[in-house]
């Protein structure tokens, strides 16, 4: 005689009982009215749950999602375009400066000895800049530079957050 737990009944409903347990269960149910009732109740629950109908969203749901999607991707495209154009402008300016410097030096100096002198001048200039930077990095100066940098970071952070807040406000207006 098997002990008829709820788990066995559930497994029976799910068709997960092996043939041996299945025949044992059927035998048992023939002799037990209370367990047959339990099974009938469970089957009723199973059938009723199978009849569940999905709830429906409002009629214009899809339109709302798609319009939100379009607006969001428009803002995203605008942001991307803005960042891309700013980067391009900076890159062009940087390239122009570099090209200008090289053109200036090489167009004025035609022979090789003079070119070497120009390069040496550049190297001397870079060495001077690095040595003056080294001079700045004393214990006293470094704390001043640190303070200035921290202050700049705070200001930049504030400006960034303000910009974000502004963008968010604009986005919510659009949406």
């Amino acid at each position: 005689m098997i002990e008829l737990s709820d788990e066995i009944l559930n497994n029976y409903i799910d068709g997960e009982l092996d043939p041996y347990k299945l025949s044992e269960l059927r035998e048992h149910l023939k002799n037990s009215e209370s367990d047959s009732l339990r099974l009938a109740m469970l089957q009723k629950v199973h059938r009723e749950l199978g009849k569940l109908e999905p709830l429906e969203v409002s009629n214009n749901f899809t339109c709302i999602v798609m319009s939100k999607l379009q607006k969001k991707s428009k803002v995203f495209r605008m942001d991307r375009f803005f960042i891309f154009s700013i980067s391009i402008v900076f890159l062009i300016i940087l390239l122009a400066i570099i090209c200008f410097l090289f053109l200036m030096s090489f167009s004025q100096q035609s022979d090789t000895a003079q070119n070497v002198r120009v390069i040496n001048n550049y190297l001397i200039f870079i060495t001077n800049v690095s040595s003056s930077l080294k001079g700045l990095m004393t214990q006293k100066n470094i704390s001043i530079i640190g303070s200035i940098l921290s202050f700049s970071i705070i200001i930049a952070g504030y400006l960034f957050l303000e910009n974000q807040r502004h963008a968010k406000r604009n986005l919510s207006k659009i949406l």
Partner: protein
């Protein structure tokens, strides 16, 4: 009406045919809405969250690697978003979801009215509304969306054994309520 599979729709959307995303929305909106309403017990809030979930899914379509079905992947988004909303509302879901050791006990507020009418279907449907969040989610996915226990376990990020236990416990709780409220005669 185009008759495309989820994978074909996603491929089309990724190619730039954003309007095809409406096919996915139309396919899943009501089922997911049912799940959210059962979890959050609020239709307006559920609709708002569902909109966010569709936007989130659209944004993450590139991350969908087709290791599982789109439905399972999307269910995970919806389910996790609903849980986040629930926890942000400081509901005691952990307690309500009840650890598997706890006995699942639902009370019927409708005993009095429904006993007179003896409408079993109505009675069961009212009881489902009282199921704890996780149990209601399992019932919704299993019966309404015809998901297998394996798919549900993927969506809910829980073990297969836990899903089966939750499914069985939900049925048992409903069955116990039927017996308790003398519905035996109606059924037999």
């Amino acid at each position: 009406m185009k008759n495309l599979t989820d994978i074909e729709i996603i491929a089309s959307v990724k190619k730039g045919n954003h309007s095809d995303y409406t096919l996915l929305i139309d396919k899943y909106k009501n089922k997911e809405f049912s799940l959210l309403v059962r979890m959050l017990k609020n239709e307006m809030e559920s609709e708002e969250i569902l909109q966010d979930c569709f936007l989130k899914a659209f944004k993450s379509l590139d991350n969908f690697r087709q290791e599982s079905k789109f439905s399972t992947w999307f269910y995970r988004i919806v389910y996790n978003t609903a849980l986040t909303r629930l926890s942000s509302k400081k509901r005691e879901i952990e307690l309500e979801m009840s650890s598997l050791e706890n006995h699942l006990d639902i009370k019927s507020e409708y005993d009095y009215q429904e006993t007179e009418q003896k409408d079993v279907s109505k009675f069961i449907h009212k009881l489902i509304e009282q199921l704890p969040v996780k149990y209601a989610s399992v019932i919704n996915m299993y019966y309404l969306d015809n998901m297998s226990c394996e798919e549900i376990s993927q969506a809910m990020e829980t073990s297969l054994a836990n899903i089966k236990v939750m499914l069985h416990r939900s049925r048992n709780a409903l069955k116990d309520q039927l017996i308790k409220n003398n519905y035996a005669e109606e059924i037999l």
